[in-house]
Symmetry: C5
Subunit: 88 residues, 5 copies
């Protein structure tokens, strides 16, 4: 998983039927020091996250797990809202 | 998922039988600010997208989901046409 | 798999129900020479690892295997604590 | 998928039993402008491609699909030979 | 798949139970010209490879296939020992 900041939202009228109810958020991944790290991406939300929040998200096949038994065609899904994190 | 612009099309007479009906589009991924970001790739289309449109696409195992129960050997599929997106 | 050092922990009250019991650790991947190599990430722990330890972790679909039959939405899981490693 | 040029072949006497009949080709991925883009890799062939040809290949779990019901341990497989492609 | 040189071994007393019998090797991926290319990683061995040998390995979900019906949590497995390879 990676830490990220929710920085925006995508509006798409024409999309896969299994994404009809999906919220499409734009994420900026963050390093452990809280700096932007890597390319922005579009993720589904499964925990009620919104713009401005710090979250962590999962990539790949597991990105569909939170929606089980539905199987939306997603490769990135927010699975938690971060309260805080520590580093050495 | 990633935002991308459809910039071309691939013609291939010899291809996997499960790609026979597929439209193969060339995508340029975009950053959240709309700039080209990362390498071009070839994706299948599942929503009727065409050259010049802004779309979002899914990578990996989920790229075959929109074609279920068919299972084309694809690792990238367009799953939505973007109307617009916002960023902070 | 990759070698990594556990450098921190993430606290998240709101998260996927299948992550309720999960320990979320921050990892810094390491090269074969023991230097930081690549971006930090968040991983689940399956072996009792803690901050300061050197571990190896698995990415992707297999990251859920150690928790079978549970299927937490994880794309990175610590699967071993490293005693030592050799290189030519 | 990505465009690529077939630039060589790998000979391996000792290999996984499910790769016994496989042709192992060396690929150089190409950008949309036809330039080398990214690292070379080894891929299986499923369409009769040979050295010097321009192809497109699929990565990941879907790379085994063309060989169904066999499941060779492959993460990259050529699934088409490119006649030509256009870009804006 | 990628070409790689086996450059070391990892010793880990505490690890996932499905890795108990596994040999954990350190790999340096190689380009088609035989130069180091990309980050070192830890892979399982399925073909009897040892330090100093040139191999090719598979990443992702397929990395567990050589161990079927066992499903070790691996995302990288050596599936062949390279005799030689050619490039244009």
């Amino acid at each position: 998983m990676q830490l990220a900041r929710v920085i925006g939202e995508v509006v798409a009228s024409v999309k896969d039927v299994n994404l009809a109810a999906a919220t499409l958020l734009v994420l900026q991944p963050l390093s452990a020091s809280g700096e932007p790290a890597g390319r922005t991406l579009v993720a589904l939300d499964s925990v009620g996250a919104g713009v401005g929040e710090t979250v962590f998200f999962v990539r790949g096949r597991e990105a569909a797990f939170p929606f089980y038994p539905a199987e939306p065609p997603t490769d990135a899904t927010i699975v938690g809202i971060v309260d805080h994190w520590s580093t050495e």
